[in-house]
């Protein structure tokens, strides 16, 4: 089953589409990382999935329930009961303590639940984020990192089947970030679906089962981090005649110079796709009278993939927007 499915989901503000005919499916039980530059539409997508923002077109369903529009009201309530969320910054009543805030949110949605069960659940989530000691302090006195932790605790409060977290490591120090990453990984291993947006690539790469890359409201790449990286083998070459090498490689089918400038004058990065091979590349260059001093296979970083995918989308502005 899919935890989140969108079908040509669109949100327009005036003439611009924040989310543009987006088709997305997040499997239940996965830790799904959602990447994109600022303004790519990540938050708008999350708000639509949570029923905060109404789509202009298309559908979005969460845990099998259609959640958009007024006809989706009942389904939305059923779905949201099983969802925990952090949407942008955490929001709390600052004059109440951290614990009291969680209690208020716990009783807000009713029906009245067992007081003891509620208390112990609150203790548990405060413990998960390491806030036991600050639980009775007013949120006013919390640091940004503590508020962020409390926000994650709130998201976990209902023992959700689906956790939707928008930039959960914002404002945390490196050890706090690491704790949160480990926590998310553990929750996912225990069966919770975690949908996490981030602009921190290494963070997503380190923990996520799947990654989606969003740019200008559209999904421009999706897959396991290792699959995304392996879209082409890359080779870094060091040669004595860079210009000549670029010219010679232009004739090789499947070879593409992706990065001209390197640390060394005569260095360039070539992406290979079949039928091109590293050995063939070498033969071509040598045949053209170019001395190859180094030929280093490189693994593409997710950052390279990301920049390339997003870059394409930004350059290709309008090429597939005929209908909007």
């Amino acid at each position: 089953m899919n935890a989140i499915v969108t079908r040509s989901l669109t949100k327009r503000y005036g003439d611009t589409a924040a989310v543009d005919r987006l088709d997305l499916a997040v499997d239940e039980g996965t830790l799904y990382g959602f990447l994109g530059p600022n303004g790519a539409g990540k938050t708008t997508l999350i708000r639509m999935a949570l029923g905060l923002v109404l789509p202009s077109e298309g559908t979005v369903s969460v845990l099998g329930e259609a959640v958009q529009g007024s006809e989706g009201r009942a389904g939305r309530q059923r779905a949201l009961r099983q969802v925990g969320a952090l949407v942008e910054e955490p929001g709390f009543w600052k004059h109440l303590s951290g614990r009291r805030n969680l209690e208020c949110f716990a009783v807000a949605a009713g029906p009245p639940s067992d007081r003891e069960a509620r208390r112990s659940r609150i203790d548990r989530v405060l413990g998960l984020v390491g806030l036991e000691d600050a639980a009775t302090k007013r949120v006013k006195a919390y640091s940004q990192g503590m508020r962020q932790r409390l926000g994650i605790a709130l998201a976990l409060l209902g023992a959700p089947r689906l956790l939707v977290l928008d930039e959960p490591t914002n404002g945390l120090d490196p050890s706090g970030m690491r704790e949160v990453r480990l926590l998310l990984r553990r929750l996912a291993d225990e069966g919770t679906t975690v949908f996490v947006s981030s602009h921190l690539l290494w963070e997503v790469e380190a923990i996520c089962d799947r990654v989606g890359v969003l740019a200008k409201g559209r999904l421009v790449g999706e897959g396991r981090p290792s699959d995304l990286r392996r879209t082409g083998d890359r080779v870094r070459l060091e040669v004595d005649d860079r210009e000549g090498a670029v010219r010679a490689l232009g004739a090789v089918e499947g070879a593409m110079v992706v990065d001209g400038a390197g640390p060394v004058d005569g260095s360039l990065v070539v992406r290979l796709s079949p039928p091109a091979t590293t050995a063939g590349l070498n033969a071509t260059l040598v045949g053209a009278g170019i001395a190859v001093s180094a030929l280093i296979p490189e693994q593409e970083s997710l950052e390279d993939v990301f920049l390339e995918l997003v870059g394409k989308r930004l350059e290709g502005d309008g090429d597939d927007d005929a209908s909007s």
Binding site: R47, R73, Q77, H95, C104
Partner: protein, 268 residues
């Protein structure tokens, strides 16, 4: 949701400061009178003719009600209702309440209920403090009606409470207007000022004779009809028309608030 509102209100200094301030009104009336003369009727601060019937400690709750009605009651109802949704939006808690999930309709209804409960609590508090303060200073006894007859103290207290209830009804529409504006903006101060301005402007327009044709439609036009409670027999006509006006304002703006909020994108 209503329970959360109450927990939050009881944990704020604001609530107690306001309570102390409200209690000060009847106490101030009693004390200032005790210091100047000994004739309770001199303290009548509401409609002037009320002075005729205020002959014992019962003057304190009634005068205090008359004092809070034109400004403090609409102010309280306006501030609380204007803050109701916009305040949550600017604190960042609105989206977290909605995804808990608290239904949007439920949120509006409970917020409105909380505002009205607060107004009721304020009125009850003022009447209670007034009864105690006035009773302690001047005793409680039978009260003449505006028609010249006399009613028992118990009857008088009942009618004072009824007057308070009518005043609460009078600001129900103000609270609905505040709530409606509160759903349209994320700025709590703006949403809080608007309904207070409506109450003030309505009272000003109601005093301009040349605008007589619009007077029956003003939200504040029948606010003073509660004085008919102190006639014998009670004249219900004015209050019935007033209640109808209040009900229409409340229904229209509460409906508008629900409609606006259900369709709105929550981007705060």
């Amino acid at each position: 949701m209503l329970r959360v509102e109450l927990i939050r209100a009881l944990r704020r200094w604001r609530t107690y400061v306001l309570g102390a301030g409200l209690a000060g009104i009847p106490i101030l009336i009693v004390v200032s009178l005790k210091l100047s003369s000994n004739d309770p009727s001199a303290a009548a601060t509401g409609p002037a003719f009320l002075g005729k019937i205020l002959v014992n400690g019962l003057f304190a709750p009634l005068s205090a009600l008359a004092v809070i009605q034109p400004f403090f009651l609409p102010l309280g109802a306006g501030l609380l209702s204007g803050d109701a949704v916009a305040g949550e939006a600017s604190a960042g808690t609105l989206r977290y309440l909605l995804v808990r999930p608290v239904g949007r309709i439920r949120l509006i209804i409970d917020k409105y209920a909380f505002v009205m409960l607060s107004v009721i609590a304020g009125v009850v508090w003022v009447v209670a403090v007034g009864l105690v303060a006035g009773g302690a200073a001047y005793g409680v006894g039978p009260m003449p009606t505006l028609s010249g007859t006399t009613m028992s103290a118990a009857q008088a207290v009942l009618r004072i409470v009824a007057a308070g209830a009518y005043m609460v009804g009078g600001v129900a529409g103000i609270a609905a207007i505040g709530l409606f504006i509160s759903t349209l903006t994320d700025s709590a101060p703006g949403a809080a000022i608007a309904p207070v301005a409506v109450a003030i402007v309505s009272q000003i327009l109601d005093n301009i004779d040349s605008l007589r044709v619009i007077h029956p439609f003003l939200i504040s036009h029948r606010w003073l009809a509660w004085t008919d409670l102190f006639r014998s027999p009670v004249e219900w006509g004015g209050m019935a028309r007033g209640a109808l006006t209040f009900a229409i304002y409340t229904a229209v703006f509460l409906g508008a608030a629900l409609r606006a909020f259900v369709r709105r994108d929550v981007t705060s």
